[in-house]
């Protein structure tokens, strides 16, 4: 929550003498509410002075322009050419002198005024419209109208002003600044000027100038000057609370004989400073209390309330299902029994704590009012506001929690302002307070405070800080017992809250920064996070680019990639369909990245490491969060080999050995003739293959994509396990190359297996080429391998090697019908 605070206004509540706004901002931000921005209120009023128009003459060359001679307090009047539609002799105007900065027609960046000739007549400044000097909100006006100060501020205000006086002085804006202050959600009290002043008083060590009062003039039910409606009204106001949980206190004061109208300038400009518009005196007074006390109020026009008897009845009750009310924003709201309303005998006249009804509000003809000041249950306010999608300054404060004890103070001030500014007599005061709020008390020991903060603070000082904040403090030399002031009632929940108050007033910047020492934690780094990082390093080293895709995907993507969306957890409140299911595999998302980049990048090598969320035993258990690796190779001539090679490389780098590769021929996401899986024992480590052309075409990918999909948790389980080495042999290796001609359908894996099974002296078999074509029958291929033979005990003789190779040849012929080329 942010609050706009006029520094001048704040000075009425707390002594800020000789503290600059910058200094204020710096100190406050470190101990309490943070001042985020500061700006001057008179920026557009420099060199703008009060002028009195002495004459208005026609312009010789322009119908719509006038030539005015204006007294600006100098020996000679100033000549101004002006197009204002409401100019008259004797008028007091805001005159921008040469050098002033104004906004032309209230728009754009300010420009500096210069002396100019307008249609041949010299003009030395400008008579301003309110919008040209940033006052459009204060003095709304028609296009072309200039600001008539006397009309706006009243004759009395002008009597003491001489031409030449800066307009900023006249308006009380000189040297004032507005501060944009962040107030945390727990400190709704500091949303009011008094609360802010209290903070400033404690933090800056300055005196509070404001004194609380809850005194209201005694009601005079039958003042002879008033003509009461009806006859012999015994009680001019009755209030009934029907749900004391939702409304612990409701106070109403009836004032008759008031006169509504425009608010005085001092009030208007303060509302303006806080970002509120002036509406009418009576409404402005309730808003003024909102700004001063952070206590929302409401005003009802008695003449607009429906009554059965002779006195107006206020019922605080839950709405009936189906009840409707048009609020002050002009919209009709459908209410139900969850919502608390203020009702007359006819129906709701306000949604409690949120917004008043249009029917019963104060208007220009209002003379007989009820001021409402109450406490409402914060949760109920919040729920109703969300349900109706209706938000207001009042609701914003109530839903943070406002104390019942603040009610009479705010009411007393409101009555004072009404009587002062709108006149009238108090004819009734009703205060219904069924559940008395009990002040909270908390205790801490000064040792606890010091231990938690980490510095020594004398207990006397600890207590004084709390006293300055309004706590009633007792206790011994080592304990602090503090009664929480009502304006912090909802904020305080535990003794530790007292420690926070002492710490922040002591000043966080005064607390030293010390690195903790101490016992080593028993838990060690999660090894998966370390391996995960290693995988990324390997992938980067292999030339792959890392992607990060969203964990939620669309149902459509899963369907297009032939995955089953019904196995995935669904989001019940997704932002859009695009983000509606939690992916059970990360592969489709990466394939989608390929699709999205294919126009610009005809060759891509990508990877991602992320969790997939897979249902465990049922939908009522948290899912398994499986760490997966996905790789995609697009636009490469040998994409499949790249994908497979990368997984081989990864397994080798991670020390996962003795794995088995098995052909996979399921139809689905993967190409049924071009996919393979790698296992360690029975455990699946990864799937590698080309993506089925059906899938790529569903995603409108031009060309083939090879992908790899690895289950990292399984891989990590075998990673680096029992890393060991074999000492290099002292005896040389013999090597032979073979070109083996077999049927095309014979897999290399089988050839290698057959060769290896001949004798343990065959230590290495390595593929280096497969050939099909000229010189071979159509159904045959030639597979070239490199074979290494060695013994750890001796050097093999040429004869031994020949014998072994003959065995190999025989075995290949027997098992695979192979011949040698």
């Amino acid at each position: 929550m942010n609050s706009l605070v006029s520094y001048h206004w704040l000075k009425h509540y707390v002594d800020l003498h000789k503290i600059s706004p910058d200094e204020f901002a710096k100190k406050m931000s470190l101990c309490g509410p943070a001042v985020e921005k500061i700006w001057r209120r008179d920026d557009l009023l420099q060199n703008v002075v009060v002028g009195k128009i002495l004459s208005v003459d026609a312009h010789p060359n322009a119908d719509k322009l006038r030539i005015c001679m204006v007294n600006v307090g100098e020996k000679q009047p100033t000549q101004i050419v002006c197009g204002g539609s409401n100019l008259s002799v004797g008028q007091y105007v805001a005159l921008a002198k040469v050098g002033a900065q104004v906004k032309w027609h209230g728009e754009g960046e300010p420009v500096t005024l210069e002396a100019a000739k307008l249609r041949g007549v010299e003009s030395f400044g400008m008579i301003c419209g309110a919008n040209e000097i940033g006052l459009a909100d204060a003095f709304p006006h028609e296009e072309k109208e200039i600001l008539d100060l006397e009309k706006e501020l009243g004759k009395d205000a002008m009597k003491i002003v001489k031409p030449g006086t800066p307009v900023a002085d006249l308006l009380g804006l000189s040297d004032d600044v507005i501060m944009d202050i962040e107030v945390t959600a727990n400190r709704v009290d500091a949303m009011g000027m008094i609360g802010m002043a209290r903070e400033a008083s404690t933090i800056l060590g300055r005196k509070m100038l404001w004194k609380p009062s809850n005194k209201i003039p005694r009601p005079t039910p039958h003042p002879p000057s008033l003509k009461l409606r009806g006859t012999g009204a015994p009680r001019p106001l009755s209030i009934t609370i029907h749900d004391k949980k939702l409304c612990p206190r409701y106070m109403g004061v009836r004032i008759e004989g008031v006169k509504n109208g425009p608010s005085p300038w001092w009030m208007k400009q303060r509302l303006m400073a806080a970002g509120l518009n002036s509406i009418s005196l009576l409404v402005d007074i309730t808003n003024y209390i909102l700004l001063e006390y952070a206590q929302p109020m409401h005003v009802f026009d008695v003449a607009r309330l429906k009554m059965k008897g002779k006195a107006p009845e206020i019922h605080v009750r839950r709405a009936k299902d189906g009840e409707k009310m048009t609020a002050l924003d002009g919209k009709e709201y459908n209410l139900d029994s969850h919502a608390l309303v203020i009702a007359d005998t006819d129906g709701p006249v306000a949604i409690a704590g949120i917004m008043g009804g249009e029917r019963s509000g104060a208007y220009s003809d209002t003379t007989d009012i009820i001021l409402e000041c109450a406490a409402f249950d914060p949760v109920s306010i919040r729920r109703t506001s969300r349900r109706l999608n209706l938000f207001s300054d009042s609701q914003l404060r109530f839903e943070k929690g406002l104390s019942s004890e603040g009610v009479p103070f705010a009411m007393a001030r409101a009555v004072e302002l009404v009587l002062d500014l709108a006149g009238g007599h108090v004819t009734a005061i009703e205060d219904v307070y069924p559940v008395k709020e009990k002040a909270k008390t908390f205790s801490v020991t000064s040792t606890e405070v010091e231990k938690r903060i980490g510095v020594k603070i004398p207990v006397v000082r600890q207590k004084q800080m709390l006293k300055d904040l309004g706590f009633r403090v007792t206790g011994t030399t080592s304990t602090i017992k503090a009664i929480v002031p009502w304006w912090r009632h909802f904020d305080f929940e535990a003794p530790v809250d007292l420690i926070e108050e002492i710490a922040r007033i002591y000043g966080y910047s005064s607390i030293p920064a010390i690195l903790p020492v101490g016992e080593l934690p028993p838990r060690t780094t999660d090894p998966e996070t370390v391996w995960e990082d290693r995988v990324k390093t390997i992938a980067q080293g292999a030339g792959l680019t890392e992607c990060y895709t969203y964990s939620f995907v669309s149902q459509a993507l899963f369907e297009k990639t032939l995955h089953d969306p019904s196995r995935a957890f669904r989001i019940s409140n997704p932002l859009t369909e695009e983000f509606s299911i939690m992916r059970t595999t990360i592969v489709p998302s990466l394939l989608n990245v390929v699709a999205e980049n294919q126009e610009r990048f005809r060759e891509q090598s990508l990877f991602e490491v992320a969790n997939a969320y897979v249902v465990k035993n049922g939908w009522n258990e948290l899912p398994n969060e499986n760490l997966e690796l996905a790789c995609a190779f697009y636009g490469h001539a040998d994409g499949f080999k790249k994908a497979k090679g990368f997984i081989e490389h990864l397994l080798k780098e991670l020390g996962v050995t003795n794995v088995t590769w098995k052909r996979m021929s399921e139809q689905g996401f993967w190409h049924p003739g071009r996919s393979v899986q790698v296992f360690k024992g029975d455990e699946l480590l990864a799937t590698v293959g080309e993506v089925s052309p059906q899938v790529t075409s569903n995603l409108k990918i031009d060309g083939r994509v090879a992908m790899a999909h690895a289950q990292l948790e399984a891989i990590f389980r075998f990673a680096g396990a029992g890393a060991s080495y074999i000492p290099p042999s002292a005896y040389p290796e013999s090597s032979r190359d073979l070109a083996i001609v077999v049927d095309r359908g014979v897999e290399y894996g089988k050839i290698e297996h057959a060769i290896r099974s001949v004798d343990p002296l065959i230590v290495h078999v390595e593929w280096f080429d497969t050939y099909q074509g000229a010189g071979l029958p159509d159904e045959k291929k030639s597979v070239a391998v490199h074979i290494a033979l060695a013994s750890r005990e001796r050097t093999l003789t040429a004869e031994e090697v020949d014998v072994l190779m003959a065995k190999v040849e025989k075995k290949l012929a027997q098992e695979l019908k192979a011949s040698l080329r």
Partner: protein, 356 residues
Amino acid sequence: MQDQLEALRVGLLDEIQRAKTIKELESVEIKYLGRKGEFTAMLRQLGSLSPEERKTVGARANDIKKEAESLLNKQRSVFAHKAASSIGDAEWMDVSEPGVRPPEGHVHMVTQAIREITGIFDRIGFVRERHPEIDWDWYAFESLNMPKDHPARDEWETFFVEAPETKHGRMVLIPHTSNSQVREMLLGELPIRMINIAKCYRRQIDVTHVPMFHQFEGLYIDKDVSITHLRGVLDYFAKSYFGPNRVTRLRPHHFRFTEPSFEIDVSCGVCGGTGVALNAMKEDVKCRTCKRGWLELGGAGMVHPTVLKNGGVDPKKYSGFAFGWGIERTASMKSGTRLDDIRILYKNDLRFLQQF
């Protein structure tokens, strides 16, 4: 014999000097000094001389041999130098052509930030752990002192999962990494120095928000932990991550699960913490990067006693602090290249990804 020797010397030195190639030089050497060379043959005859003669002639012969060898070496190096310089022309290649590079891979900006942050905390003994990214309401909110109706929960625009409600409440996509606080405590292994980095989810998408992002959570629980330690750790982090010239400040803030709670600001790297920067015309203007010299880094606080209790830790014996904030934001604050639109991180446009 003496004369013969002198005559041979003249011929030898002359021929060495006249040799035009390294080959000619070699044949001169063989002709005179080789096993069957003229000079060698002469030396063999020394035996036939009288002892006195042998002494003088022998000494002279040695001098001549040394002289010849030294001249040979000199000439040899002349030829070697010539050969070395001519190779430049003979084997010239265009060195301005680009080299053959190993394949160039890229890791994402978020990964880089995670690595750096993990490393910084690792050095002061904070170990990285993993906790769920889909979790129960209890761990994400309730146990953190945020009851169902508390307005504080509005700040977390939470995604819910379609799943039956259990005694731990509804299933949610974690809106922050703080669910790991109570989870880590419940493991019952104290003291705790933990960093947890995970994906988080909130219902927001615009130029400054993405529905999926990353947070890191630090948790420290031990006996006698105070605000001084929190300040120490955060200061250490800010200086390690942002640079030694940056400073931090704590401001009061409000979170339900810590008390006291803080907002951590780090001094602005653009204006040096003054709040005033130079514009293109070298004039002093308000710094556009920061708020009055400070950038908001994130939240922190002393773990609330209620949260300790929910984690099975006795608040009378133990205290601690927690902190946590967004990886993306922290990373973009460091680089100074404040991302105009944070969504670019998850668009996976290779033109962006391949710059890292």
